[in-house]
Amino acid sequence: MRNEDFKDNESLDLLRESGANILLTSIDDVINWGRKNSLWPLTFATSCCGIEMMATGAPRHDFARFGMEVYRASPRQADVIVVAGTIVNKMAPVLRRLYDQMSEPKYVVAMGACAISGGPFFLNSYSVVKGVEHVIPVDVYVPGCPPRPEALLYGMLQLQRKIETETIRSRKKRSASHSEKKSQ
């Protein structure tokens, strides 16, 4: 897929930092190549979207092609947490804990309307978290209810592109700035 075919290139441009020196860039290239091609997801699914996530791993769509089939049950070994499904107030601390316990670098994909905004449960519900970004920083949003497997794959491609923009230096800054944003 060419770059122009993707959506939301503007946000990506903002992330790209100019002026990194050549040496660092090629090191970054290697590192990012490794990272982006080996995203191991945490087995974390709360509801319906989780089934679609499973379907993404199934033969028809085959997550494995991207090297992402290594679902790790332990957050220590996982790189990306795909929040697939509704997060309710009781679950939020658990999610936060899981995210905290993951080892750096870690990424978050919010899959489905529930994870992005509460989705079908946005109105009138007394217990649903209206978007996981209130709990953990999100890298990519994949809307849909549930998003079909291709949509999730597309989201993962987006995440890969986001990883490509990272440099060794910027990663720390970025996560720091996010937590600042949260605390405000």
Partner: protein, 128 residues
């Protein structure tokens, strides 16, 4: 005792080669660990260093309650391991020695088989 680069039965003992592999393994692991420790990113937050238990703080102490199953098998293993070790030299010469060896081993196994039978009957072979 030959190695890639050594004639068979050369004067050099193999022990240093074994140590070599030991060292290569140790250095390999150590270097990679140090390298990874230097270049990997780090982040600190209070929940991170707690044990993972499906996203819930651990309750109670982490230790296994006493369970006969585990160590009974360890003991049985030890006994049979001794037996295996002793059978190795026998197996090497079985072909040459012939009948004596055969009778020997039948007796040996019979006695041990008795032990196994005893354990079987005592339900020591059932994990609980």
């Amino acid at each position: 005792m030959a190695c890639f680069l050594r004639e068979p039965n050369s004067d050099l003992m193999s022990n240093e080669w074994l140590v070599l592999f030991f060292l290569v393994g140790a250095i390999f692991v150590g270097l990679v660990l140090i390298l990874s420790g230097i270049i990997a990113p780090r982040s600190v937050n209070p929940q991170k260093f707690e044990p993972y238990e499906s996203g819930i703080p651990t309750k109670g102490v982490t230790w296994l309650q006493f369970n006969v199953g585990y160590y009974l098998f360890a003991i049985l293993f030890l006994v049979f391991d001794v037996e295996t070790v002793l059978v190795f030299p026998w197996a090497v010469v079985m072909k040459e020695v012939g009948l004596t060896a055969f009778i020997e081993i039948v007796i040996f196994f019979l006695i041990l088989g008795l032990g196994l039978l005893y354990a079987w009957k005592k339900d020591a072979l059932v994990w609980e």
